[in-house]
């Protein structure tokens, strides 16, 4: 009985160690920083389709989130899944009735703000959408 419990605890410790190391390795491999500096276009589109566009420069090591925070008034929440973008300047969402969708060069992004890497010449469009 004791031996069984010991084996279970040993396996549990091993599994937790695997989980923690996976998180650490994943974070190291997937830090979305720019390899080189450059320039990108940021678009903000509200529900009515009004568009505001800015051309911004970034340096090596910058993230899209850093770039947004240093140029706009950003509202967000940090969740276990990454950054949940709730508002940029006048576009404010509650994630229940409206949310901000991210498009890269006109294509819907399957990655969240925390995972997108800045690349020279890209157009990052933040569009307010109804749920």
């Amino acid at each position: 009985m004791r031996k069984q419990l010991f084996i279970k605890i040993a396996i549990a410790v091993l599994v937790v160690a695997i989980a923690v190391s996976s998180v650490i390795i994943y974070k190291k491999l997937h830090t979305p920083v720019a390899d080189v500096g450059g320039g990108v276009t940021i678009e903000l589109v509200d529900l009515e389709g009004n568009k505001e566009e800015k051309r911004l420069d970034f340096d090596e090591g910058d993230t899209l989130f850093d770039l947004l925070c240093s140029n706009y008034e950003v509202t967000y929440e940090e969740t276990g899944y990454g950054i949940l973008l709730l508002g940029i300047d006048d576009i404010q969402t509650d994630f229940t009735s409206t949310y901000i969708a991210i498009y890269i060069n006109g294509e819907y992004s399957n990655l969240g703000l925390s995972s997108i890497i800045l690349e020279e010449g890209n157009v990052y469009s933040f569009r307010e959408m109804r749920v």
Partner: protein, 171 residues
Amino acid sequence: MTKSRIKTSELALLAMLTAILFVQETLLSSLPNIQLSVVLIMVYAATLGIPKATLVMTLHVLLDNMIWGSLNPLTACPMWLGWFILILIGFALKKAPLPIIVTGSVIGSLIYCWCFALFNYLFMDINIVAYITADILFEILMCCSSVVTVMFLYRPAERLINKYYENHINK
């Protein structure tokens, strides 16, 4: 008057089990894929049988998606399918030794994650390899969580539900 096929005490049990499943997932929602859902659904399948476990799971899926605002076919259908496959695995392994059940929980967890990848691939035209690569950490976390919870909680939870059946429903 026709005889009811389900007793009130059993109905109360099913409602309570649905509540437990839903509340634990809501409480743990801030931790990515750390959950007790896998162990609970496997225990429900083993103790209640496929139809009743499916009823509990369907209610859970509906509630979960209604609360989080994701009640759409692209989220609710793969979730339901993933959990249903886990119910089948749980039922098939109900008499198996614990290490086999733990293995089943890992396979069930992976199938659950891949159901979302498959639906997104079929209906959203995404790159399935990129999706699974991006999802791999969450799959590992779900598997780890399933291993630990099934190892420690499966037998006690199974005993508890069987005891309730013996004392209140089958007596």
